[in-house]
Amino acid sequence: MKTNSLLVETRALSFGFGPRPVLHQLDLQVPAGSIYGFLGPNGAGKSTTLRLLLGLLPAPAGTVHLFGHELARHRLAALGQVGALIEMPSLYDHLSGLDNLEVTRRLRGLPAGRTADVLATVGLTADAHRPAREYSLGMRQRLGLALALLPDPELLILDEPTNGLDPNGIIEMRALLQTLQREHGKTILLSSHLISEIERVATHVGVLQQGRLAFQGSVAELQRRQQGHAQVVIDTDDAARCQLLLPVDLGGATVLGPGRLGVPYQSAEQMAYLAQQLVLAGQPVYALHCQQPTLEQAFLHLTEPAVA
């Protein structure tokens, strides 16, 4: 990753709560204009990292750079360009949705028209005058996103933004994030433990495991890295019979179903050879293809605890 295009960069960032270490030597690199999916199981340190990026927690070791400037020295100027939604949205239940936005608009000294714009963007215009306490979980999440979008920021930091959204809401959120990135050139740092979410929107991925980056790069790079986990999937009549007939070639195969086998992928020649051997053994081959691991499988490979 070229460092001159990084909007967010941490260098050897470490953090601990008291004696309990949370992050170790984190070198996060979020390219400008990307949707960076920050993945990790619960408790891996994602929210702590995002809090450090916003200066909500002090960095005892290492540095955080936003827009190329060191956060510790330019915090307020940097935050002027950042919109964030960290964990649950911060909403004043006694105020209407509109007034909640108005509070943040005043805090940032933004033009009055922005509140109506972001309400329309997140589809809450009709409910703007209802108290936030009457909002559903999904509406609260959308209002939280509106708060983050209010300053029209260059960088959006969103911590689990699809929490509480129904399937339609998730699809809308995904479309909105893609529009913001593609049409408005925004950079979005998106944390989630839902791989399926990240897979559909992210251009780049960082995988956090026990406070360390297990992987960082583009989605394509991650999938390339996982090619060792690709497998040849064979659809036939009787998987067990094929294994009996070809013990050398298929003895170590995984039975994926009554008529489906999986063999670790080696080469195109290996695929041709397997097809030939099955036909010679009198077994039908309905389909034979190389299956790349999904991001979910890649994530599981990266985050599974190392075997001693």
Partner: protein, 272 residues
């Protein structure tokens, strides 16, 4: 990369103005605002009724009823109600942020901690002053009403001592600042409603029981009641603060400075 973005931060006064404007909006429909506007009515109503029904036993015939009426009401208000009001008010104002899990959002805005600290302090000072002014206005208005409803008490025969009310307000307002600062810092530190209220109530009751203690001037929770020492015969009130009033200001200054330094070490690591 060094971006070409406008990378400037707003000045401290701009931050303070923005934060104050947002904090005022947050008061809409809050118990803190209702408490401010309504709490002054309680002692006024109490003493209005007492004087309406039993005023003839509390006033000397033919004398100006205003000083006795104002002083007795003021004494009740400042001894217990005013300290408790300040304790409740500071916790309620800050509870708005606790309840909304808003601290993390607030500190992720381009605002310094000084602006957030200063703005909430100004809101508290403003509400405290507003409540006391509302109380004083209601008190005078109730005296005028008694003049109409109970002419025998002679409220209408004498002018309301408006000239004494303003310095009296100055003394009580200054006397509350020590409590306000302590409760403000405690509520900021604990980020809970109950803990600072419990401590504040305990301190207020302790102060009332220690009223005869030789060092009571040093106890900020006793200062509102002690501020009445500045009242001379016939409701003559000067502007110079009494020892307890000066010490309350000292408490306020020291607590705010120390509190601000301490609060700079508090970070947003929890789920707020």
């Amino acid at each position: 990369m060094e971006t070409a973005l406008t990378f400037a931060q707003p000045g401290l006064l701009t931050q303070l103005r923005r934060s104050l404007s947002a904090d005022v909006l947050k008061l809409k429909h809050t118990p803190a605002l209702w408490l401010t506007l309504g709490s002054g009515a309680l002692p006024v109503l109490l003493f209005g009724l007492i004087f309406f029904f039993k005023g003839q036993f509390l006033l000397k015939p033919g004398q100006n009823p205003w000083p006795a009426y104002i002083l007795q009401s003021w004494q009740t208000a400042t001894g217990l109600l005013l300290p408790l009001f300040v304790v409740l008010l500071s916790s309620l104002v800050l509870h708005t942020e606790n309840k909304a899990l808003a601290w993390k959002h607030l500190y992720a805005q381009p605002l310094s901690r000084a602006a957030v600290f200063g703005s909430k302090l100004l809101v508290l000072l403003g509400l405290n002053l507003l409540a006391q002014v509302v109380y004083a206005v209601l008190l005078v208005a109730s005296g005028w009403l008694l003049g109409v409803l109970r002419p025998a008490l002679h409220f209408a025969d004498f002018a309301a001592p408006l000239g004494a009310i303003v310095p009296l307000l100055w003394h009580t307002f200054a006397a509350t600042l020590g409590i306000l600062a302590l409760q403000y810092v405690a509520a900021l530190w604990w980020r809970s409603f109950a803990a600072p209220v419990a401590v504040g109530m305990a301190c207020t009751i302790a102060a009332l029981t220690l009223m005869r203690w030789e060092f009571i001037d040093w106890v900020p929770y006793a200062a509102p009641l002690l501020s009445l020492k500045a009242v001379g015969k016939g409701l003559n009130v000067g502007w110079a603060l009494s020892t307890s009033g000066l010490l309350a200001l000292g408490w306020a200054a020291a607590t705010l400075l120390l509190g601000y330094a301490l609060l700079g070490r508090r970070h947003e690591g929890a789920a707020r």
